[in-house]
Amino acid sequence: MGSEWDERLRAALLEAARLDGEADFAALSGEPDFSQDYLRERERLLRDPFRYARRRSRFGYKAVLWYAACALVTLCLSAALVLATNPAARAWVVRMWSTWRPEYTEYQFQGDGTEPAPLGVWRPTYVPEGYEEWGKDETGSLRSIDYVNDKDYFLSLTYMPLSNEGNILLDNEHNVFHRVTIHGLPADLYTGIEEDDPSTVIWADEEAGMVFSLRGVLSEEELLYMAESIAPTS
């Protein structure tokens, strides 16, 4: 990429960005009123920027999950899943399906648009030894809680209402796929291939009206044990 034109184009792109940045900054009225969430994350970042960035990069999918709550998606659960998890008559049917792509699997779902039950706060009652709580978001429609150990390995529980429209992308390139169950509910498990590759288990609990995803560098047994310990705190 080193032609004279390419170099000139690069310089012009940077100059254009500089001018746009100055224009935007000039248009900014007063000091930004940053939220408490932002200030908290900023403090964490500045405390040790490179460690923070390394941790976030291990869980890059989390950004996708965060945005996914707003994404429009339609999806169908198999009739077998519906009957297996909730044979009682319900007013709505949640649809969720997965699409296998070369490097990731996309889970898509859409509720029926009715008002979801209160989300509540869900936590695992079992947390592996050595892990301590690192951060949480238990106020929005996409909730999460993170744990970390002294090796900078993360455990991350994320959950959202099934009545949302959304999608979730899970890496399937560095994992082996299995079908498992969580409390008898069908679940998809992606176990990491290398020693420090994280594993992820994802499942839908129609009775609770939730989709859960638990990810961490754990053995399959411990990950599933932790998944089955997840319960509402309120």
């Binding site: 990429m1 004279e4 034109w5 390419d6 000139r8 184009l9 690069r10 310089a11 012009a12 792109l13 940077l14 100059e15 254009a16 960005a17 500089r18 001018l19 746009d20 940045g21 935007d24 900054f25 248009a27 900014l28 000091e31 930004p32 009123d33 940053f34 939220s35 969430d37 932002y38 994350e41 900023r42 970042l45 500045l46 040790d48 920027p49 490179f50 923070y52 960035a53 390394r54 976030r56 990069s57 950004a63 996708v64 965060w66 945005y67 996914a68 707003c70 994404a71 429009l72 490097e103």
Partner: protein, 181 residues
């Protein structure tokens, strides 16, 4: 701007350099994100994503810093803008941005300078065209990475880069410039 470079040069160590940079540019990057997203909370997310990206790719930061300290700011503007476009893309709001581009005629005498005219044209380009050029020529991404980001094939990504580039060249030639000279 020179004082900014001096203050960055005086930073002791990478961590201090990043913190100095963060303190100096946070508001500026927030302003850029807010201009695109029109939502303070989303703008915060974009700024945080950009800063995390910069911290995670600090070798790139230092490379540009050593090349020309004054390019750090524009480079960071591009990073945060792409973070904002990611948000829009995820929320499927990218379609709300203008796609059609009709290059405006040169307005000022300064535009007689081909380089200035090139900058002017870039500023008037649709964000999606500009984004692929920035990814390829500023952030030096491979075509396959651009394709993955945009969820398109590599062939399509290459075509988008070539087309955006070709449109700039076509306008400049039509106006009597040769490749922005």
């Amino acid at each position: 701007m020179l004082s900014l470079c001096l203050s960055l040069l005086e930073s002791d160590g990478d961590r201090a350099l990043f913190r100095e940079f963060h303190g100096r540019y946070e508001r500026r990057l927030y302003a850029v994100a807010l201009g695109l997203l029109r939502d303070p909370r989303r703008a915060e997310d974009a700024v945080q994503e950009a800063m995390v990206h910069i911290a995670g790719h600090f070798d790139q930061f230092k490379k540009i810093f050593e090349e020309d300290c004054l390019k750090i700011g524009p480079w960071a503007v591009i990073i945060v803008k792409h973070a904002a476009l990611d948000l829009l893309r995820q929320e499927e709001r990218l379609a709300a941005l203008p796609e059609h581009w009709e290059a405006q005629a040169a307005e000022t005498a300064e535009s007689e300078d081909g380089y200035r005219r090139l900058v002017e044209l870039i500023r008037s380009m649709p964000d999606r065209d500009r984004e692929v050029l920035e990814l390829r020529f500023v952030r030096e991404w491979e075509i396959r990475d651009i394709a993955r980001r945009l969820s398109i094939s590599e062939t399509t990504a290459r075509k988008r880069v070539d087309r955006a580039r070709a449109r700039l060249v076509a306008v400049l030639r039509r106006e009597g410039y040769e490749h922005g000279k």
